[in-house]
Symmetry: C2
Subunit: 369 residues, 2 copies
């Protein structure tokens, strides 16, 4: 049905297999820093107009691949499509973050929540299939969703927040309601990701963007446990091909020793994490079990001159250290990424420097004895 | 000159000495959640009107002590008084955060920065002395400042930020300018804190509110090193009394192994940190060296019903575990606090529950064999 995969570097690294270079892609790589994205968005009229139109979503997903030799594509969509399909009414005012028309803050609104009919998200699955065809096997396509906890933050707050007061009030005051809300979210996210896999996604990523705002103890109970509930329901293979799963908790560096027990292949890391230490904690030995690591350059490095971008990219690569080179057994691998989404103010040329430096320097690292 | 200290529980715990109960105070304890504070602020006309008037500052500092049996008072002021005295023009629009009239983003504006004349901050030192008198030795008075890096964030951004784009751009593009800016800040903060000590502050705290936004590596170079530059210049004793020093880096939990080498007595922790693990890392053994730990309840717990506040306070106390009880030697101690400033929406009665639970339960913990 789809063309065979040509550049499998990203997929191999997910499975801790040796690769000739360190694969690289960027969170939010199809986005506002690209003038061609802004042009398509202007034609679409709005963010949701862009995300819900299969042709537009396909076009913008491929835009960064035309500019840069990235090793993966990621579905153009939003982390909040699932609660939108639950009937909460997602919108994006120009220059602002996402906003829900309805919020979920009491017994009645939690009781009314159900796993949505996946037909309401058909535009996402159609986009996945369309992008897979358009990619012609150049690089793999990553599907994604927000984590149950991250979705809950927006569903309760109704928008972004700087203190998470309402969602934490619900968590601490009515943990029963929070557990019910998170259970529905987890089952909905699992079904959503599985349907993306059936539509053509070759890897899936769970964005726990707000896991790091929780207290120690609360994170394990209200975020990590429900991420695991999603993972435990995911399809392991599709048409005989195994599907790697990535979990990214922004601000989750303190909990890596616990996150290494998640049933996933890759952990995404933000820039506060020391990659050498994380490698020791979770990347595992050659021939033994472990998880691939993805990350973790501060996106703000991309505002520096190109020679400094090169230096900082090399620092990240060297901090992880030499990836293993044994073709016959899995071992520690690194997938280069930013520690968070790329800024809309990033000069596009600076991204070229980043990608080129990752490829060149990671090849040079492998060439060393 | 000042009355002798009656309740020395907080000071003893700073020095890792055994106490009959775990001392408790709350960051931003004199603040908008108290109706009496709002009344005084209304009379003062503005936040800076409040902070720069000795009588008002004294009045609001003591307000929470009238309501709750807190074990320390903290000077009512703002973390940004120092750059204001450098001529940047601090203001607080109603319902918004702090804002500077001038920003520091280029060679010229960095070159123009100097350690300010402490006469411009006389209102702060006068307030310290006035509060010390008004306290009549009931509890010790903590002085404070923002850290060099945290001040730099506001000086470069001009206000709060959600991505720290401008300050990080300067850091990565012109690290020479950033080092010069941070050096001036560090020397200014040291002089500022020393002058607070001379005016009557019995402990000092450095708020590194934005240290946690830095990448691993950058934190050590641009935040921690300049916090250490402040600490190395601080007066160790005043009139024969040693002055304990507290460092609080929000989001700094990943760097505790490095922060334990800071020349200070206490480390403040936010709620993402596991206190039992932090105790093992930095609190040291009975009879050996170490640092006292301060923290770390999520302020949002105070929106829950009182029985849940009790449970969560007890969880924090039990997570640290039994403080040592040997009166003859220092050992691990805990100072109870929130993991960040108290929310303006907190019901004042809930704070009573918190303080009472800390005192009662920590006494009960010490009574156990």
């Amino acid at each position: 049905m789809f063309a065979p995969l040509i550049n499998d570097t990203f997929i191999k690294a997910c499975w801790r297999q040796a690769t000739a270079h360190t694969p690289v892609w960027l969170m939010r790589q199809a986005g506002r820093y690209l003038p061609e994205y802004c042009a398509t968005r202007a034609r679409a009229g709005s963010f949701m107009g862009l995300a819900t139109n299969v042709d537009h979503a396909t076009e913008v997903t491929l835009q960064p691949l035309e500019r840069y030799p990235l090793d993966a594509a990621i579905l153009f969509s939003d982390i909040l499509t699932v609660p939108d399909a639950m009937g909460l009414g997602l919108s994006f005012a120009l220059g602002e973050g996402p906003r829900f028309e309805k919020t979920v803050r009491d017994e009645q609104s939690v009781a009314a929540l159900h796993v949505p009919d996946m037909n309401k998200l058909k535009y996402v699955f159609d986009a996945v299939t369309s992008i897979r065809h358009a990619l012609k096997g150049r690089v793999p396509l990553i599907g994604f969703s927000g984590s149950p906890w991250t979705l809950a933050c927006y569903m309760v707050e109704g928008a972004g927040s700087d203190d998470y007061r309402r969602v934490k009030e619900l968590l601490y005051s009515r943990s029963d309601l929070m557990h019910r809300l998170l259970s529905v979210n987890a089952d909905a996210v699992a079904l959503y990701l599985n349907t993306q896999i059936l539509a053509g996604a070759q890897a899936v990523m769970i964005f726990d963007s707000w896991g790091g705002v929780l207290a120690d103890g609360a994170f394990q109970t209200y975020s990590m446990a429900y991420t695991q509930r999603v993972l435990s329901q995911l399809i392991k293979t599709h048409e005989g091909v195994p599907i790697p799963r990535i979990v990214f908790t922004k601000g989750g560096g303190l909990w890596l020793d616990e996150m290494k027990n998640l049933d996933c292949e890759v952990l995404g890391l933000d820039w506060s994490v020391n990659l050498a230490r994380a490698r020791q904690q979770v990347a595992g030995p050659v021939g033994g079990p472990g998880k691939a690591l993805q990350g973790n350059l501060d996106p703000n490095v991309l505002f520096a001159p190109e020679n400094i971008i090169e230096q900082e990219v090399i620092k990240v690569l060297e901090s992880f250290g030499a990836p293993h080179r044994d073709l016959n057994t899995p071992g520690p691998t690194h997938i280069f990424n930013l520690g968070h989404g790329i800024s809309q103010y990033t000069p596009p040329d600076h991204v070229s420097t980043l990608v080129q430096t990752v490829h060149q320097h990671s090849r040079a690292m492998r060439a060393k004895k």
